[in-house]
Amino acid sequence: MSGGPADRAVLSAANISMRYRRGGKLSGSEQIQALDGMSLEVRSGEILALVGPSGSGKSTLARCLAFLERPDSGEVGFQGEAVPWEDVLAMRGLRRRVQLVFQDPARAVSPRFTTEQVLREPQQAWQQRASPQRALDWAQLLAEVELDPKVLPMRARSLSGGQLQRLVLARALVTEPDALLLDETFSGLDLSLQAKLANLVLGLVESRGLTCVLITHNSALAEQLADRSLVLSQGRVVDERSAPDASTGGTS
C-alpha cells in the first residue's frame, strides 16, 4: 500500500456504516445492518473484486461507492477527497465519474425507451451550460461494445440478454467515467456469454484506462479477472487476496 501516484485511491470508503429498517408496523422496526464500519480503497487502474455471499452488504456498498446513497456514518472519498453530500450540484457531477452497471440489464433500462433513447439519456440528463459535451460518436461507441447499430430504433427491453448487457455498458461509457462498478454483471448469463462479456470489459478497462470494481458472489470469477479481491461478510471486509501476478504489473 505504498502511496505512489500510480496507485492513488480513486474511490475510498472510511469506516462506513448503513442500516435499513424492514418489516411492517406490527413486527416492529427490524433493522438490518448492511454495512458495519467498512473501509476500503480502490486504486487507480486496478480491477478490484468485492466477493461475498448475498446479504454481505455488497450491493449497498456499490450504491455508496457510486454516490447514489449516503451512508449513515463514515466517509466516502473520490480521488482522495471526501464526497460533499450536501452540495447537490457537485454530487451530480461526481456521480458521472463513477458508473454503476446493474445486475439485471433489463431492469436498468426504462420500459418506455428505445435503444437510442437509452444511449442518449446520460447526455440529456446532464444539461449544464457550464460544461458542454462532445457530440456522441455512435459508431465508435457501438463498435466498442460490439453492438449492431440496427438495434438503435428498437425498444430496449426487447433486446436479448447479451445485447442488453452491452447496451448498458455502452451507456455507462457515455459519461466517460473514471471508474466502473459492475454489480453481479456476469451472473445469470451462460458461460460462453459470460466469458465474452468479461473479455469485453477487460478490453475496455485496458483501452480506456478505467478503474474497475467487480462485485460478485463468485470467487472463481473474481480470481480470474481481478488484480485484488476483498472478501466481505456481514458488512465488513474480512479478508484480502492479491492475484499472484498483480503485484508485478496490473496497472497500465
Binding site: R63, A66, L68, R92, G93, R95, R96, V98, Q99, L100, F102, D104, R107, A108, V109, S110, R112, E121, P122, Q124, A125, W126, Q127, V168, R171, V174, T175
Partner: protein, 338 residues
Amino acid sequence: MGTKVARKWLWWILAIHLVVLAAELVAPHDFARQVRTLSFAPPTPPRWIDAEGRFHWRPFVYALQRDPRNPREFIDTTNERHPIRFWVPSEPRQMGPMVLKYRLFGTSSPTGIHLLGTDRYGRDMFSRILYGARLSLFAGALAGTLAVVLGLIAGTLCVTWGGWVDAFLMRMVELTISLPWLYLLIGVRAFLPLSMDPVPVFVLTIALVGTLGWAVPARLVRGVLKTAREQDYVQAARGFGASEAHLLFKHLLPQTRDTLLTQWALLVPKCVMAEVTLSFFGLGVQEPFPSLGSLISVLTEAHGAMTRVWMFWPAVALGLAILSYHLLAEALQQHRDV
C-alpha cells in the same frame, strides 16, 4: 382485454358528456320554460300510428289536454298530429360563443313535445334532465380532475421533499380519509353564502369537492413514486447526474399514469354524487337552474311527484351515468392487474 373494454366505456362516457354539453341544441325546450296548463303532464311518446290506425312515416306527437271527467289526468288531443322535425327553427339563444337559431328536434307548433313529461310547474323534464346532467356531470368530472391533480402534486411533494413535509401530508391524508366526507363537505359549505348565481356555485362546488378528494390519489401517487424511485433504471439515471426534474418528468411521473386514470374513474362518480347530494339538500344551484340533485329532491317533497313515474327519470339518468363510470373504473383496474 381490459384496455379494449376501458376504451369502449371511455367513448360512451365521452358521448354522454358531449350530448349534455350541447344541451341548448339537443333539448327541445328551455329549462325554465313553464307551461302552466301542463303541470305534471305525462310523457308524449313519438308515434307512428294515429288514432284512426293509419301509419305515418314521420313520427308525431299528440298534444295533451286535461281530461274533462278527471281533471287530475291528461288525455291526448287526437284531432291534430304534431309531426316531429329535426333542425327546427327557434328563438335565437346563446350557446358558449355561438348563437343558435335551431334545435336538434321538436315540433313546429308551440304545443311541443315532452319526451319525459313535465314537472309540477309544467317544465319539460327531458330538457331539464339534460341541463341538470350537464351541471352535475361536468362538476363531477372537473372536481375529479382537480382532486387527481392535487393528489399528484401532494404525492410528488411527499417524495421529492420527504422529511416533515411527507409526514405532515400523510397525516392530513389519514385525517381526510377518516372524516365523514359528507359532513366535511357540508361543514365547509356552511361558511359560504347560501344563494349565489349558478356559475359561482358551479366553480365553488368543483373547488370544494375536488379539494376534499385529494387524499387517496395523493397516497397512491406517493406509493408509486417511492417504488419507482428504487428501480434500477431510475438509479442509473441518477448516476448520470440527472437533476430531480429530469428524474421526475422522464421516469417517475410517467409511471403514475395508470394509477391516476383509474383514480380519476373512481373519483368522478363520487364527485358527481357529492354535487348531486349538495343540490339535493338545496346547497347547490338554486331554482330555476336544474341539477340532477335538485331534480331528484322533488321526489321527496309532498307534491305527489312520487306517484308520477316519469319524475323518476332524473334518478335513472343519474344511475346510468354513475354505472358507466363504475364500469370504466372496473375495466381500468382489470387492465392494471393483468
